[in-house]
């Protein structure tokens, strides 16, 4: 049986976003059906018991990298891709699956060299990551190379599919939407009580893409009417200082920055909040929405949040419409029935998004080529 070569970037416990969670959950499951080589940049610390073959590409000789410092990031990616092509083991590989632009150059070159079918997944596009401000042309070009080389393109939402169709040259028929899942056992809360907590939470990186600024704007509008409420931003990111300055007199009084939070703390925050707000400017999927939902927390999400297109039991707003977001928050604080109904129905709905389904849908795509 032919192998699948996966070109990846990150893997828990070393990861920063949805890509890492996706990689682990997907290939843990697909390893039951296929022999899988997973290519990753060299990590110092990894689990040993993965059910797939880890293939580390060590290119430290040239660079030291970190995902967060974006200055040299482009060059690091180029170096990783070059090393990938050099060290790729094509023995018995029947399909390549490449994740995000950070692997697309290598994917395209390997495909050219060995004529192996290529599937690519967009977990985000440059338009999402830049929050629509100054997307980098050179990265868009790499994304286009990926699209041109791919036999099938997977997007994590129809929202992302639309971004591809609008901004890139690609054929609609080549794109399949496969939703992410949620790790139910990590976040599930039984019998959340819906008594008023006077606490609203934002959980995500503090980058323009996720819209934390709009969370604070909405918070201030609520606080102008009700000073009893606490607003918590959980997560790190380059915008932290700027956001703190927007929070003005409410900083550390009503608006709190928690920084990095552990899984345990995240779960606790979900359980102890009246609502989870994600006013993302552009969020291809938004796994945190599902995590909060299975914890029973009511959701306010922006229209530009991929997973929102598949959910009924949430409140939806434009990311910039902080008047409306504030109104939704006030209604949630005021009416227990609204918290309870959204929370309980939402939990039930979010549980339908599981990684088994994601894996099965991905399997269907693989079957076209294997």
């Amino acid at each position: 049986m032919k192998k699948i070569a996966v070109l990846g970037w990150e893997l828990p416990p070393i990861f920063t976003g949805g890509l890492g969670i996706h990689t682990l959950n997907l290939y843990q499951r697909l390893a039951k059906f296929y022999d899988i080589d997973l290519y990753l940049p060299y990590f110092e610390r990894v689990h040993i018991n993965y059910p797939f073959n880890l293939k580390f590409i060590d290119f430290r000789g040239k660079f030291s990298y970190s995902y967060e410092s974006s200055r040299d990031f482009y060059d690091i990616v180029r170096a990783y891709n070059e090393a990938l092509v050099e060290k790729f083991d094509m023995n018995n590989v029947g399909l390549i699956h490449a994740h995000d632009w950070i692997t697309f150059i290598a994917a395209s070159r390997i495909k050219q060299k060995y004529h192996i079918p290529l599937v690519i997944t967009f977990h985000s596009t440059e338009y999402d990551r830049s929050g629509n401000f100054y997307p980098q042309k050179r990265i868009i070009e790499i994304e286009q190379i990926g699209i041109d080389s791919a036999d099938t393109i997977i997007t994590v939402s129809n929202y992302t599919k639309c971004i591809l169709l609008k901004n890139y040259k690609c054929a609609k028929d080549n794109i399949v939407t496969i939703y992410n899942g949620v790790e139910l056992e990590l976040f599930y809360v039984t019998n959340k009580d819906y008594n008023l907590k006077n606490q609203i939470i934002y959980f995500g990186r503090l980058t323009p893409q996720k819209g934390p600024k709009f969370f604070i704007e909405a918070a201030i509008k609520v606080l102008n009417q009700n000073e009893k409420v606490k607003f918590i931003l959980a997560g790190r990111g380059e915008e932290m200082d700027k956001l703190k300055s927007i929070a003005t007199e409410y900083l550390n009084k009503n608006i709190f920055f928690e920084g990095f939070v552990s899984l345990k703390r995240a779960k606790e925050l979900y359980a102890k909040s009246d609502a989870f707000v994600l006013p993302a400017v552009s969020e291809p999927f938004g796994i945190t929405v599902l995590e909060a939902m299975v914890a029973g927390t009511p959701i306010i999400a922006s229209k530009n949040t991929g997973v929102a297109e598949a959910l009924k039991n949430i409140l939806i707003s434009d990311f910039w419409d902080t008047d409306l977001i504030a109104e939704y928050i006030i209604s949630l604080l005021k009416y227990k029935a609204l918290r309870k109904q959204l929370g309980e129905q939402g939990k039930f709905e979010a549980m339908k998004f599981n990684w088994d389904r994601t894996a099965l849908n991905t399997l269907e795509v693989y079957k076209r080529y294997l």
Binding site: K312, D323, E327, I330, S331, Y335, A337, L338, Q345
Partner: protein
């Protein structure tokens, strides 16, 4: 000789508009005039006008209730439908049936409020049609022994109820019965009613297509003296489009029934000419809504209960007409979060697409109402 009775419920609510929190204390206009007008105009031209013309042209006897909240809107629209209804009732073929003016849930929480709304509807019917009804049909067939007692005290002779599975397991619905309050009680035959109102155009139904001859034969083979076919008036032309052949079906039906010696009747003319099969007691509240046939379509979840309690708490205010217009059952129906097949029906009718938004707009309005009129 066996009879069949068609009863039609004619009702459209005054839907509330998407009312934002920032309007509280500032804007006191709650109703969604554009939307209501748009929906109502469509229904008038697709359903009410062709169906009423059909009744007149074919000398088709039936019983009809028209909610006051709808009559208000028909008058505002100055629609020709009102004159058509008048013509139909003037012909003497039709029976006008009473209900609560606001198509509300008042019957389940306040006898006095319930009675007032019934009387207001009577006054309205007398003013517009010159007719005082003797048959009563509560909102969506909500019924219990207690409700029938209240209705009896107001002088009614006949009342309608759903033939739920529980009721028909003990009583054949195809007879006239007596309520514990001593009203003539008519039970809806839901299977034969739904064959027309729900299944008529369903191509996956194994009886599709339904023609008048086949249906007349079913009626003929159904044991009993009277088959009660109760449904929304919008069945004709709106839920079942003209293209489905629903009007042709209705046109041929009397002729096909006559072959078996079956005639059409109204509720009161049947009530006056036939005896009671016995007394029926229904203590628990039933209705014709959803598959549960209870109150859960309007008060099944916490959103609905909290909104309903809030509305109730505003009794004794300075704008009773608006408060009562906010009691219309549809406002609560839009907040339903039921799953499976029923939810599709709820969503079809929900102008806000979300039960949560229905709740938010409704409670925003009540907050303004409380500040302004209480």
């Amino acid at each position: 000789m066996k009879k069949i009775i068609f009863f039609f419920e004619v009702h459209q609510p005054r839907r509330i508009r998407p009312y934002r929190r920032y309007e509280i204390g500032k804007a006191h206009e709650y109703f969604w005039h554009d939307k209501n007008k748009e929906i109502l105009s469509r229904i008038i031209s697709k359903s009410y006008i062709p169906m009423t013309k059909f009744l007149i042209e074919n000398n088709f006897p039936c019983s009809i209730s028209i909610s006051g909240i709808l009559l208000e809107q028909l008058i505002e629209l100055n629609s020709p439908i009102l004159d058509l209804f008048k013509d139909y009732f003037k012909s003497g073929l039709g029976e006008l049936v009473g209900e609560t003016y606001y198509h509300s849930l008042a019957s389940i929480w306040d006898d006095e409020e319930f009675s007032n709304q019934i009387k207001f509807q009577e006054e309205t019917l007398i003013k517009i049609f010159g007719i005082k009804p003797v048959t009563f049909r509560n909102t969506e067939l909500i019924y219990s022994d207690h409700i029938s007692e209240v209705v009896k005290k107001l002088g009614y002779k006949n009342i309608l109820a759903e033939g739920t599975d529980e009721v028909i397991s003990k009583y054949n619905p195809n007879y006239k019965y007596t309520s514990v309050s001593n009203l003539n009680l008519f039970l809806r035959n839901y299977r034969l009613s739904d064959d027309i109102s729900f299944r008529f155009s369903n191509t996956t139904w194994n009886e599709y297509p339904l023609f008048a001859d086949k249906y007349a034969k079913w009626i003929h083979l159904t044991p009993g003296e009277v088959i009660n076919l109760f449904m929304d008036y919008e069945t004709f032309g709106e839920h079942q489009w003209k293209e489905t052949g629903i009007f042709e079906f209705m046109k041929h039906l009397p002729k096909e029934l006559r072959k078996y010696g079956i005639e059409l009747s109204t509720i009161n003319s049947f009530a006056e000419s036939s005896g009671s099969k016995g007394q029926i007691s229904i203590q628990k509240i039933i209705s014709w809504a959803d598959t549960e046939r209870d109150l859960s379509a309007w008060l099944g979840n916490d959103l609905q209960k909290e909104a309903f309690e809030f509305m109730r708490s505003l009794k004794g205010n300075k704008n009773m007409h608006v408060w009562r217009s906010l009691q219309t059952s549809d406002h609560f129906y839009y907040m339903s979060t039921k799953h499976f097949s029923d939810q599709e029906v709820h969503e079809y009718f929900n102008p806000y697409k979300s039960p949560y938004l229905a709740f938010i707009y409704y409670t925003n309005i009540l907050e303004d109402f409380q500040r302004t009129y209480c």
